[in-house]
């Protein structure tokens, strides 16, 4: 396998993402009325944002111009079930859904459901252990925080 034309990889997308994000940051900074004496409120953030943009452009150039690395000979052992990217996406969406559900369904109900779904995603297929742990862990955390630390966890707004 020789060196060939390089396809955009993770570095390319990260560099592009950082350039786009810094464009948003710089726009916000230049729209801000800067206060302070000598060095203004926005001086350091602008300097940092510009530096990061320059570094991102360097990374972008490097990622596109360097010769393509030879492809790995042996792929990792395949895992049964959905591909890894789908699992990561599913875990992310489940977590986002869990956080969004907390103010509506309360800590205990949301955490139990989330724990069960994540256990399935991590390969647990034993219903007894799933049910036992999905109740035990959130309940223990709730008792610890609310009874001992006197910190209130989200209550179920939907049922109040």
């Amino acid at each position: 396998m020789g060196t060939g034309r390089r396809r955009p990889g993770g570095d390319t997308w990260i560099a592009l993402g950082l350039i786009a994000a810094n464009a948003v940051f710089l726009r916000d900074l230049f729209d801000t009325e800067p206060g302070g004496a000598y060095l203004k409120t926005t001086t350091l953030p602008i300097a940092l944002s510009v530096s990061l943009t320059v570094l991102s452009v360097l990374l972008l150039g490097w990622s596109l111009l360097r010769p393509a690395a030879p492809q790995a000979e042996a792929a990792a052992e395949p895992v049964p079930g959905p591909p890894p990217a789908v699992r990561v996406l599913a875990a992310t969406l489940l977590t986002a859904g869990y956080i969004a559900a907390l103010p509506w369904f309360g800590y205990l109900m949301s955490s139990c459901a989330y724990f069960a779904a994540m256990s399935l995603l991590y390969g647990n297929r034993n219903p007894v252990s799933i049910v036992a742990v999905m109740v035990a862990v959130p309940l223990a955390l709730m008792l610890f925080f609310e009874q001992y630390m006197i910190v209130l966890l989200p209550s179920a707004g939907l049922f109040e």
């Binding site: 302070g36 940092l48 895992v79 977590t95 989330y114 994540m118 991590y122």
Partner: protein, 506 residues
């Protein structure tokens, strides 16, 4: 001598010893739980201490402080989730050792390095409180800025072999630290139209996101991996014990890191996280085998933990001698002193010398009990490595969400944690070092405030950083550090570049 005996009499009572033990146990538990921090535990315990004797109440608070500072390393080592921001440096090598089946080794070094550093910190408090306080008084904004710049050179140290990505991660950390209200003028910047961003990004959301959530997302890709240990983990197994070689590597590191941690602790505003990372970076920079760091170097755990815990007694130096708290925790404890009619400052040593003697004895006794309680709990802690991923990671995710919520009481910050988790996941996938991101975020406010206050002090001139000896010394150290890192990186690049005269195989 009479004062010493009076102090011993006050401390060696069932009540005081029990309070120290309770404080240590509570502190270790709180420290090990991500999101729950030591200031929170000290604040909750503060009203309880009002009903106790002055030395008894403070004994419990000091126990929480010391136990909590150490406790953060337990979850950092065992599940790669730093319980406290300072323990993030411990996670770099501690979690790698756990993945290699050497969790006991990492836990032992974490405890012993913490205890040795605490002893050195206790002695510094007792013997050198006044000169150390005088040193701390010389630290103004220019010196704070220069210390920050010196510490920032660690970004290079921690990025070896990947300098561009490391510097980018450090710059991103610095930039993220500037979001929200300007600490000097109160003006808002980079809020992007979100009111929730007016206070900036939550540090705990960042730490838990890039460590815990990112790790959980990496592990979900291959969910059927077996747990790190299948049977009962015995600390007596050779892989869990510290060898003579481990001590040979770590002892010089501890004896160097602890005094540095003491000086950092004595300077108000720096804190344990700066000390842990600074010592980790210095140790890696001075190592003949820096490539081992991040892969399970035992001296990496020793440096981070000794730097972290050396701060604990040193923060009492400015509090007791000048009445200036060294960090948030001692600021809360100041309340306990005042409620008991003890006003910290030079007069305290003259008017309440018996209390000061008892306080010094209590601090040393707390360190001794810390060793006993930490060692007794170790066989229990290490069993965490037996938990299967299918139970461990769902629990870590629930704990992470809960931890960020109870710390910030904001769903925005919990979503932020998930965002930082995705950032950490992509950083791991694209070989970006995570540590520089955290260092940049920790040092950002220190550097910005130091820089801007100094420029105001000198009416717009930057000469102030070079005309003040301590500031100039730290900048010189930063320059030396950059040169060392540059030379090492250049050598590494040369070693990795294939010789064009050598024909390639195939």
């Amino acid at each position: 001598m009479d004062l010493l005996f009076a102090g011993l009499e006050q401390v060696f009572t069932v009540e005081t010893l029990s309070l120290i033990a309770i404080g240590l146990i509570v502190g270790i538990i709180i420290g090990a739980i991500p999101g729950l921090n030591v200031p929170l535990a000290v604040a909750i315990a503060l009203p309880i201490t009002f009903k106790l004797s002055p030395i008894g109440g403070l004994a419990m608070l000091v126990g929480i402080y010391k136990g909590g500072t150490y406790g953060g390393s337990l979850s950092a080592v065992l599940i790669n989730v730093p319980g406290t921001p300072a323990a993030a440096a411990t996670a770099l090598d501690g979690a790698a050792l756990t993945r290699q089946g050497k969790a006991g080794k990492a836990l032992r070094m974490s405890l012993y390095a913490s205890i040795i550093a605490e002893v050195i910190s206790d002695l510094a408090l007792i013997l050198f409180a006044v000169p150390v306080a005088a040193f701390a008084l010389k630290i103004g904004p220019p010196e704070t800025f220069s210390v920050g710049v010196f510490a920032l050179t660690l970004v290079g140290v921690l990025s070896q072999g990947n300098m561009l990505k490391g510097v980018m991660a450090g710059a991103l950390g610095l930039l993220l630290s500037t979001f929200g209200v300007d600490p000097l003028t109160g003006d808002f910047r980079l809020t992007l139209g979100f009111d929730a961003l007016s206070g900036g990004w939550s540090f705990i959301a960042l730490v838990i996101g890039v460590f815990a959530v990112a790790e959980a997302l990496v592990k979900v890709e291959r969910p059927l991996e077996k747990p790190m240990a299948m049977g009962t983990v015995r600390l007596s197994d050779p892989d869990h014990r510290l060898s003579r070689d481990d001590w040979r590597r770590s002892l010089p590191v501890i004896t160097r890191s602890a005094p540095i941690g003491v000086l950092i602790g004595a300077i108000p505003g720096l804190g344990a996280a700066v000390s842990a990372y600074l010592n980790y970076g210095i140790t890696r920079n001075l190592s003949k085998t820096p490539e081992r760091f991040g892969q399970g170097a035992i001296e990496g755990v020793a440096a981070a933990e000794s730097g972290n815990n050396a701060v604990t007694s040193a923060t009492f130096v400015p509090l007791l001698t000048l009445g200036v708290p060294g960090d948030v925790i001692t600021a809360i404890m100041l309340g306990a002193f005042i409620v008991h009619g003890l006003i910290p400052g030079p007069a305290l040593f003259e008017q309440n010398s018996a209390f000061i003697a008892a306080f010094f004895v209590m601090v040393v006794v707390t360190t001794g009990l810390h060793l006993i309680i930490g060692r007794l709990g170790m066989p229990l802690f290490v069993q965490t490595t037996r938990i299967s991923n299918k139970f461990l990671f769902p629990a870590i995710m629930v704990l992470s969400v809960t931890g960020v919520y109870v710390t910030t009481n904001s769903f925005f910050d919990v979503f932020t944690m998930l965002g930082f988790g995705l950032l950490g996941y992509f950083m791991i996938k694209c070989s970006f070092p995570v540590a520089p991101l955290l260092i940049g975020f920790i040092l950002g406010p220190l550097i910005e405030i130091g820089l801007r206050q100094s420029v105001i002090m000198s009416r717009g001139s930057f000469d102030i950083f070079l005309t003040r000896p301590l500031s100039a010394a730290f900048l010189a150290l930063a320059a030396v550090s950059v040169v060392i890192v540059g030379v090492r990186e250049w050598r590494l690049a040369r070693r990795n570049t294939p010789n064009p005269k050598t024909p390639e195989g195939d």
